[in-house]
Symmetry: D2
Subunit: 350 residues, 4 copies
Amino acid sequence: MTQGKKIAAAVVGATGYAGAELVRILWDHPQVELKAVTSRQYAGQAIAQVFPAFQGVVPLVCEEFNAQSIGERADVVFLALPHKLPMAIAPQLEGTNTRIVDLSADFRFNDQAAYEAVYQPHTSPELMKKSVYGLCELYRKEIAQAFIIGNPGCYPTCSLLPLAPFIQQGVISTRGIVIDAKSGASGAGRGLSLTTHYCELTEGFSAYKVAAHRHCPEMEEILSREAGRDVKITFAPHLVPMSRGMLATSYSMLEKDLDTPAALEILREFYKDAEFVKICPDNALPRTSHVRGTNYVHIAARVDEHANRLILVSVIDNLVKGAAGQAVQNMNIMFGLAEGAGLNAAPYPV
Amino acid sequence: MTQGKKIAAAVVGATGYAGAELVRILWDHPQVELKAVTSRQYAGQAIAQVFPAFQGVVPLVCEEFNAQSIGERADVVFLALPHKLPMAIAPQLEGTNTRIVDLSADFRFNDQAAYEAVYQPHTSPELMKKSVYGLCELYRKEIAQAFIIGNPGCYPTCSLLPLAPFIQQGVISTRGIVIDAKSGASGAGRGLSLTTHYCELTEGFSAYKVAAHRHCPEMEEILSREAGRDVKITFAPHLVPMSRGMLATSYSMLEKDLDTPAALEILREFYKDAEFVKICPDNALPRTSHVRGTNYVHIAARVDEHANRLILVSVIDNLVKGAAGQAVQNMNIMFGLAEGAGLNAAPYPV
Amino acid sequence: MTQGKKIAAAVVGATGYAGAELVRILWDHPQVELKAVTSRQYAGQAIAQVFPAFQGVVPLVCEEFNAQSIGERADVVFLALPHKLPMAIAPQLEGTNTRIVDLSADFRFNDQAAYEAVYQPHTSPELMKKSVYGLCELYRKEIAQAFIIGNPGCYPTCSLLPLAPFIQQGVISTRGIVIDAKSGASGAGRGLSLTTHYCELTEGFSAYKVAAHRHCPEMEEILSREAGRDVKITFAPHLVPMSRGMLATSYSMLEKDLDTPAALEILREFYKDAEFVKICPDNALPRTSHVRGTNYVHIAARVDEHANRLILVSVIDNLVKGAAGQAVQNMNIMFGLAEGAGLNAAPYPV
Amino acid sequence: MTQGKKIAAAVVGATGYAGAELVRILWDHPQVELKAVTSRQYAGQAIAQVFPAFQGVVPLVCEEFNAQSIGERADVVFLALPHKLPMAIAPQLEGTNTRIVDLSADFRFNDQAAYEAVYQPHTSPELMKKSVYGLCELYRKEIAQAFIIGNPGCYPTCSLLPLAPFIQQGVISTRGIVIDAKSGASGAGRGLSLTTHYCELTEGFSAYKVAAHRHCPEMEEILSREAGRDVKITFAPHLVPMSRGMLATSYSMLEKDLDTPAALEILREFYKDAEFVKICPDNALPRTSHVRGTNYVHIAARVDEHANRLILVSVIDNLVKGAAGQAVQNMNIMFGLAEGAGLNAAPYPV
């Protein structure tokens, strides 16, 4: 990267929530020039027509995706598409000069069978093997060298960051981990459904895909890697009547003697250089609104001594640290920029 | 009860949310006459001034509590007060002709030490011993004979009903039960706090009192009773940006071989005569809005075979089945009325 | 009506929000038997599958609409369909023994040209002429005799009730009335749209169809009738991030000298026999939650002396008094029942 | 201002919503150094303890206000206090080197009698006379020279911007203007009240202070100034179940022949150099979420030809353009910075 020259970026699938959030972040990124946004559904329309918040601010017009054209114009391409499309598109971009951050599941797995068990046959298995799992705080080195990043799912991001230090250090058992996670409705995207119809969701908290969500094997792959042996978890996601925000509560059996202050200390030490991870004070617990619109993760820990369990509570904004923000964080690492570039605006107090 | 004569009822503490909900239910109850509502804060004011929804419908005026007067006028007194007050008031009512349904924690425990460990010294220990835990579906017989009912907490009601059949029948382990529960803000009452200030709660899902909530020992006492041996659970409550509704997700280790249909069948069989308990169809999961404003409980079960766990999901309206509705259901049982009297209006579709 | 015999009712279009609300109300109505519910989209499915709140409570199955069959089985048919369908269906029912309450716009107008100017050509003009506008508090006598009722729109119900006494009595000018109305999302129905997608609506209050809403001519027809001369209004509706509830604020020029207490007195006197209309105390203003789930209307008045204007504020639940509730109120009047039968459950305090 | 030297700023009353929002904006402002934040209630506590969103980002500690100390350290002081306090504090700061942006009502009026009629006796009448009304788009020149700015109320900002061009140009009558405005709950501040208690506000849209709100005379003073003659308006504010956002709908009698495109053209021309004012396309209407968290104003116009009225609809974020954002915009103008400095982050798409 020549000093001073801006990174040329493109967002493929810019009119979903994650795509539009990428547009917001990249538009303001001091070292990025957003060259192109694509949308099949809205090709030819101004992005500000699709998202009126951008009115008079972001003058870009949605174009049809064309691998050749995008590849030539962009140093980095963000794929914000439903899974299955990226595995077809990524190989087309491989020949060009660009690098890729894929926000779908297609390049999150290294284990092809695990992917295929819950998604579909993978048509770019070689690329899959080269891909790096973009959980920035854990895999910075690999990310820096990667051609293609599999940007983590929102649930895995929120759940794995608190668990990682404890599973790595053998503080908790690899058996019996329960993750009870709760997400705002933007995680379900901009596509219409009765589930996210206003009248059905307001006052309507619910569980869904209990023990059947595709993020479960994604988490198990990473936890097993960190533990050095096979980890099985139980995972139940829930839908919260709110727009942005995700909270994960995990329950693990303690293998070592530990109290709450010691658990917090492990987190503080592990994340002392991670600018987006904040460990809550002893007397505080995270709230999704505290990270709304930001790339931050807030984590708390409690030891339930009477049942010998470690309880971890963490929050993220599912569209930022859980999607677009982490994608840009990955780009920052890939291109040798400051990790927080374009991502560290002061948070909204309320 | 002479046929045709209405039961005279009084609500002590009628201007909190549970108290006002009692007023709503009792006002429409075909076999009840609501004789008195009391409020320290609003004594002398019309209840319709405090809750304008009652305007032109409920003409009652709040009075100061007077044990003598209330006891003489009421066949049944509902105490909707913060804990500690009922243990002082109940003995005053004992001499009169009335029976009591207490919505606080004061008469929920039979184990005095367990109560005192998390609340305060109990000043009516004899009455405590006579009290019956008012979880209607489990303790109908005892309730029918009781002088004083300890109406269950909302979290215990929502969590215990799904677990009871499985713990009774030894299907799940008494060790390692995790209950992750989520409540709407009305559970925190009408008292003002920053936590339930609109701007702080909207978009602000959070955990609170993790592994430190007083409903935990209440649940352990009942689960141990049903299991016939000591049960320890891990309990973490969460606050949802909504007004009414509660959902509990519990995770238990299976002791017997079981799949999802079999788990559902156990629930259906156990609750086949319980008019307020509905077991969801195999392909459905509960949503709090489905029981909003009603006394119903919706329950679903899933077996997570890859981790050998039973997951139970249940919803109630915390102010109805979790408080006022169950209190009236208890009264119905105590006075030999149809269990659903005054409680079985058709639910709102949305 | 033979004493004791129940009225047989049918709901055509039972799986929209107004239709489902009719099911709720009619199911509990002490003098009604709900014989049939129809749905094109969900024919063959249990209504409780479409609205899980009805699970274990309402066992009806949706059927395809058949005029002959419905006409034979029902004393009254509620049409809860999009406009244009009822004008085709109603004539088919005319030959049978049933009476009709139509919740669409098709039979609200007596002036065919006014209807056709904002909807489409009317194919049942004779029936239209026979139809009665079902604003219960104003047209009780006509309603009692009607074969077919045009159930008022939610905005007209909410706006006309406060204005009626003043326009009738010449207290306000027929010129320059402004109605600024606000509705919850359930008014837009169960059909999916980006406007009522949760993430787009929450925190997203907006105006829509400003000076272009079809309820405007409906209101002008009634106001002109009551004034005895032509009334033109300006009407702007707004969408509120909430599910149920509607509030209308109207601004009129005073023609007579009037202060706030006198304005309130006019309302109290006018509605002294209307059980569902409540005039707020002098120091109170209505809130939509106070009438949520009920058939009540709360009205307040303020005279802005420095600008010589009367300001009226009123609230209803758009699905009850603004749709299903008023439809049942109309049925009660048509069949000589108590006007509040099935509609006067005590309101929820919160 | 020496080129390159940062402006030293202080926020007095930093722990209310407007104060905290000032902290957020000033913390990120490229040409500002935030030197001090004060709070009576939280003196000695970290601002990140009061607003956990600031955790690990804003390390400031709240101090007690001391005029001498603040005046010495700050080039500009923002007063985010309840009215009455600023009129006592501002004169203490006058001797020091600092300039003032006051967010209360104390320095919004030039007409002392008008202020005193709705607030209280003004104890700094000379300062009041020197103060400039900080509606940036109208009074840039005066603002640039001002020692003290009276930062406009949120309702006036939202209502006056759309009306100004029309009233200035005599397009609308100075008689009969109606402003119906709607605000999210953050406008009521962080102080606890039943009105903004979550359970009372959700699903509870209401009107308040109808024809009795203090922002009414503030608007009349400015409108009269712009019109060159006395303007009287009718103003009714409403409270929306949402956190941030405000929408104003105004209704005026047309004095000149005008259609919708012409009205929009007047707005576009008038605001062609105003970077924060966006005029909606002909087929679009504003939504509060489109400006959430930003300093933008979105405006639409419609001519209701059948009633000869101009309807203007505008949205702002009440805490940004309605308070802290406009305060910083005023500071930018006062210190000769780019008007949008620190305020032009790309908006959130949802």
